[in-house]
């Protein structure tokens, strides 16, 4: 999906200066599925014939510890192997990290920041003193609990990301999950994930 068609859907377009390369940084706690989400976005890019790279920043591998993962997408083969310093997109799967980690470190002013939160973007700014960037929120944990019946926020984050960045369409991510999850999980789980995607696509909040 192009930036233009993202605009058409009423979402804020992603103002990427260099359309060739998109860098995403994921913040989460171990067990929230950020690495899976980072990989899923890479695989969706593969489906579009784009070049991709996804990698976690390996640290303590324990449930609940803060983790960082990265995704790079490009029209050209990716040769850059260093960590992402200036992400155009930051995705935060756990609101409590806003107190512990500098989530916008190195992000340019026009970066898109998506946070899993019950709060609206202005409320979130007020609570954590967040300044600048383009902030979006989605109550991903609640959506996951209600649809998938498990508090794992990664799938809803993908729905919201599709809406606000236009990097991939809602349809493509639904198709991908139906195929990939269909191999591993019962139909109920698959449909729950698709419901989570659709709801988060609709419910993501901007400013």
């Amino acid at each position: 999906m192009s930036v233009a068609s993202a605009k058409k859907r009423g979402a804020s377009p992603l103002a990427v200066e260099s359309p060739g390369l998109v860098e995403i940084r994921w913040h989460a706690r171990g067990g929230q599925g950020a690495v899976t989400a980072a990989k899923t976005v890479a695989e969706l890019a593969l489906g579009q014939g784009k070049h991709f790279q996804a990698f976690p920043e390996y640290g303590p591998e324990r449930s609940g510890a803060p983790i960082v993962a990265f995704t790079r997408l490009s029209d050209e083969p990716i040769q850059l192997y260093s960590g992402v310093e200036h992400p155009q997109i930051v995705v935060v799967l756990d609101e409590s990290l806003l107190k512990a980690v500098d989530i916008t470190k190195g992000a340019p002013e026009n970066a898109v920041v998506l946070v899993n939160s019950e709060l609206t973007p202005p409320e979130l700014r007020l609570r954590y003193g967040l300044k600048g960037h383009r902030l979006y929120t989605i109550p991903a944990t609640r959506i996951a609990t209600e649809t998938i019946k498990r508090p794992i926020p990664n799938t809803p984050m993908l729905g919201a990301l599709a809406r606000i960045t236009g990097l991939f369409t809602l349809e493509s991510v639904i198709e991908f999950l139906r195929y990939e999850f269909g191999k591993k999980f019962p139909a109920k789980v698959v449909e729950g994930n698709i419901a989570a995607l659709t709801r988060s696509y609709e419910e993501v909040r901007g400013e």
Binding site: K39, E43, I78, F176, E180
Partner: protein, 408 residues
């Protein structure tokens, strides 16, 4: 592994190698898991359990035992593979020399990781670079595709009658091993065709022609001549490495050489580098070229045998060469690759300056601006009349933690 675009898979580096191993389907795999190689052993054990390969999978209680079992299997006449990293590689140490001196064509994947201490699981090249004198052929890959391609070629090189030496192929731990990247695999049948059937030389299981392997060879024996024979095999390996690469290119369109130069033809300053950092370096070369700086790069693909003639030719017109080592040789004039390059260029006339850089130890990240800084040093040196100091220069090194005290 999901498949979307035809023939391209999104896989980790380790998945790429496990896929190559599945297609090779060796007679025996002996391995012990260690981070960041573990995924290979885990995936391969699953393939064995699912009956997807016919391999005899030997789980050992340590890497010392894994390499011992690999030696036994290879001496018996089996096509044998293993994989390791870091401390596991170090624990194999004495057996590495046994494998090469018995001329056993074992293929080993080494996922590069730092050596302790302090304990560190991240990427540097200390493990395999330390094994440079063990008599194994060493091939370094840059990315997912090369990890896979080198694994396939390693089998052919090791088993070639002119060589008959074990081969280890490397790629960067985590940076490649754990990251998702693109892989275009070959069809199973084409891999089988490329590697061909294995014809072991003097296998122990050929009971009609009994041989002794590994006897005592004392003061009046042939130990010395044996070592010379190993080195002659290394010399013959240059041609075999290139022939196998050329045959692989005809099959895949992907051409490899002993070295991997980039924009070097008219370069005045150049960086020599090993592994995934070559990709990042290429980007910096392009940026500098856009500014009019005549920068170039060479990636070291084959480290043993070291293609010193090829390097001497490729770098003969370059004024200043910077060598980026991701391992150090404490107390030496510079890192291990630096020492090789500097020696290789000694007979060149004019003789370029060669400067040592150390980077990325224990997984310390290396960014384009770090490499740009290294090129800046080379550019500065190229403008001077007198040669500059060959003191080590460190990229992305933090200050403090007693370094000032040590430097007193």
């Amino acid at each position: 592994m999901a498949k979307a675009t035809p023939n391209v898979l999104a896989v980790t580096g380790n998945e790429a190698v496990a896929e190559a191993m599945r297609q090779i389907d060796p007679d025996v795999v002996c391995a012990y898991p260690i981070t960041p190689q573990t995924e290979i052993v885990q995936l391969y054990a699953q393939l064995v359990a699912d009956g997807k390969v016919s391999t005899e999978f030997v789980t050992a209680e340590s890497e010392h035992s894994a390499m011992s079992a690999a030696i036994g299997a290879a001496a018996a006449g089996a096509r044998t593979m293993t994989a390791t990293s870091s401390q596991g590689f170090a624990l194999m140490w004495e057996l590495l020399y046994i494998a090469s001196s018995y001329r056993l064509p074992i293929v080993m994947t080494v996922v590069n990781r730092a050596l302790s201490g302090p304990i560190n699981i991240h990427c540097d090249h200390s493990d395999s670079i330390g094994g440079r004198d063990s008599g194994w052929i060493q091939i370094y890959g840059e990315n997912h595709q090369q990890a896979y391609d080198n694994c396939l070629q390693a089998v052919r090189i090791a088993e070639h009658p002119d060589v008959r030496l074990p081969v280890m192929h490397m790629y960067d731990g985590y940076v490649i091993s754990g990251a998702i990247g693109p892989l275009t695999p070959l069809e199973d049948s084409r891999v089988r065709e490329f590697i061909g059937p294995y014809q072991p030389v003097n296998p122990l299981l050929d009971v009609q022609h009994p041989v002794t392997v590994g006897p005592f060879d004392g003061l009046h024996g042939w130990y010395f001549e044996h070592k010379v024979a190993q080195n002659l095999a290394m010399e013959r390996a240059y041609q075999v490495l290139q022939d196998v690469a050329d045959e692989f290119a005809r099959l895949t369109g992907r051409q490899y050489g002993l070295i991997d130069p980039y924009r070097l033809e008219d370069a005045e300053i150049a960086i020599v580098v090993v592994g995934s950092t070559a990709g990042t370096t290429r980007l910096v070369v392009d940026q500098l070229r856009a500014k009019g700086v005549k920068a170039g790069m060479v990636r070291v693909r084959v480290f043993r045998p070291f293609p010193y003639h090829t390097f001497a030719q490729a770098l003969q017109h370059v004024k200043v060469v910077g060598v980026l080592d991701r391992a150090d040789s404490f107390g030496a004039q510079g890192g291990p690759v630096f020492l090789e390059i500097r020696a290789a260029l000694y007979d060149n006339d004019p003789r370029p300056q060669v400067l040592p850089f150390i980077y990325g130890l224990g997984g310390r990240d290396i960014f384009p601006h770090d490499i740009e800084q290294a090129f800046g040093v080379l550019d500065e040196a190229a403008k001077r009349v007198r040669r500059v100091s060959t003191q080590r220069r460190y990229l992305n090194l933090r200050q403090g933690r007693g370094l000032e005290h040590e430097r007193k």
